[in-house]
């Protein structure tokens, strides 16, 4: 097949992106897990390794630029490189959100609100990211639509969870004897949970972006790109 070297470069880029996504997903899981078990050591690890993801992001961006400058891709190849550019950004953002999770773990003082099943939401969004990357790897347009649909569900759950937390806060009866640090701790926990829920929702949004770009790459369809 002609332009074998070029074909190899495209395949390598795809492999590298998938690898980066694996790293990001692993950190997401680690962060969520640390939050659940309140494992501060693991949380620290998650925060430290943010640099790895950022470095990968810059390298892969340069790979895309090299491909554009030196190989002049057109048609499907061009859409692939353009889509990959944007997907890298989304992956990097997800990486940052995973770092946030680690940060929340370190901030936690009390129990997480038990009515709010953060783990469930987290697992759902992680699955969305996994499925989106699978769609990218397999060039599966159908799967992209499915991921967009799931996001509505996740958004709904996040809204419910936030409402729960706020109501809980409102209904907490302050006896009036609480010390200032205790009130501080309460406020911190509440804002922590709310932020965690919000960040997980954004992970879901980024997964949808990945699916949208993948749909564009495969079918030149900007339907999901609102």
């Amino acid at each position: 097949m002609p332009r074998e070297g070029f074909q190899e470069q495209l395949d390598d880029l795809r492999e590298d992106v998938l690898f980066m996504s694996e790293v990001v997903l692993e950190r997401l899981r680690m962060g969520l897990d640390a939050l659940e078990r309140k494992d501060e050591a693991q949380a620290e690890e998650v925060i430290e390794r943010d640099d790895d993801v950022n470095r990968m992001y810059l390298e892969l961006e340069q790979e895309c630029i090299d491909l554009l400058a030196l190989q002049q891709p057109v048609a499907g190849d061009l859409r692939f490189v353009a889509a990959t550019f944007k997907i890298l950004t989304d992956l990097e953002r997800i990486g940052d959100l995973a770092t946030n999770l680690g940060g929340y773990t370190l901030d936690a003082e009390r129990e997480v609100f038990p009515e709010v099943d953060v783990q469930a939401i987290g697992t759902a969004t992680i699955e969305m990211v996994e499925d989106a990357m699978a769609a990218y790897a397999e060039r599966d347009a159908e799967a992209c639509y499915a991921i967009a649909d799931r996001d509505d569900d996740v958004d709904e759950r996040c809204r419910e969870a936030s409402k729960l937390v706020v109501r809980d806060l409102i209904e907490t009866e302050l006896t009036g004897d609480e010390t200032d640090p205790e009130i501080e701790a309460l406020m911190t926990d509440v804002s922590r949970v709310l932020l965690t829920i919000r960040d997980l929702e954004r992970v879901g949004d980024h997964a949808v972006n990945v699916a949208a770009r993948t749909l564009y790459m495969v079918e030149n369809d900007d339907d999901l790109l609102y």
């Binding site: 002609p2 070297g5 590298d16 690898f19 390298e59 892969l60 090299d66 190989q71």
Partner: protein, 284 residues
């Protein structure tokens, strides 16, 4: 450019896709480049009569790589190429100044025999020019005129294989070279050049007379050739230079070498505005 990431397995225990992100990165350099210089030019200038065709060109061509020379028409690209094997000697009124070293020996020294020099340098021309002889005799031409000993049959076969032509001609070795298609003829000329194991292969716009499919084949071939040979290619097709070369030299009007650097630097971030203007098509 990057170090390994620590994890080799994801939480489920499955191995991750890659352990080294940069291993697949292709920054254009071949793995076997040793960095030695094959051709070194120092302040080379050429005049055709009164007209100056090359002006103080200084550059080094590294071993086992593809080096491209680009630039608008008439700015001395082919002239420079033809200095290396002293083909310019055959043009009346051509005069050369400066030093040009092939493997450390100045090719314009008084004691250098141009004919002997040309036996160490291979040249492929713009329009394929196989001899009106059989395919076999074409490839063996260099072996015959240099009285090379050894198994000519084996050398011919090896050269044709390296030129990606063997499969198409192995049972047609006695047919005239002129009966092949354009792309095949050019590959035949390449086989002819590499049969005598040259120090460097000079290519003067080798694909410009070919259709896109044949061009693509030649480009792939050149990338392969760089593993065993050193290639210096002149091309007016910038994108071709971007695709296949490791280093690129930009010659602009007046025969001036304006910039010479890694190919990705030239095409992503050239140092000179004139080069940027030329590459973006704003002039030339």
């Amino acid at each position: 450019m990057s170090e390994d990431t620590q994890a080799t397995e994801d939480p489920d225990g499955d191995p991750l896709v890659r352990t080294d992100v940069s291993a697949g990165l292709d920054d254009g350099s071949s793995g076997t480049a040793s960095g030695e210089t094959v051709v070194r030019a120092e302040d080379v200038s050429v005049w055709y009569g009164e007209e100056q065709a090359l002006s103080d060109v200084t550059m080094s061509v590294p071993e086992n790589s593809v080096t491209a020379i680009i630039g608008p028409s008439g700015c001395g690209k082919s002239t420079f190429l033809r200095c290396i094997n002293r083909m310019n000697d055959r043009i009346d009124g051509a005069s050369v100044d400066g030093d040009l070293y092939l493997r450390g020996k100045n090719v314009y020294d008084d004691d250098v025999d141009p004919v002997a020099l040309r036996r160490r340098v291979g040249m492929v021309f713009q329009k394929p020019n196989p001899f009106p002889k059989s395919v076999y005799d074409n490839v063996a031409y260099g072996l015959n005129i240099q009285d090379v000993e050894g198994d000519h049959d084996a050398i011919v076969e090896e050269s044709l294989k390296r030129a990606a032509l063997w499969d198409e001609v192995e049972d047609r070795l006695d047919e005239s070279g002129l009966e092949l298609s354009g792309g095949q003829q050019q590959r035949l000329c390449i086989a002819r050049a590499i049969a005598v194991d040259p120090e460097i292969i000079l290519m003067d716009e080798p694909a410009s007379a070919l259709d896109p499919v044949a061009t693509s084949q030649i480009e792939d071939l050149i990338e392969e050739l760089a593993e065993d040979y050193t290639v210096l290619i002149v091309t007016h097709n910038m994108q071709q230079a971007a695709r296949i070369s490791d280093r690129t030299a930009v010659f602009l009007t007046g025969g001036e070498l304006v910039e010479y650097d890694d190919t990705d630097t030239i095409f992503e971030n050239p140092a000179h505005q004139r080069v940027e203007d030329y590459i973006t098509g704003k002039f030339g």
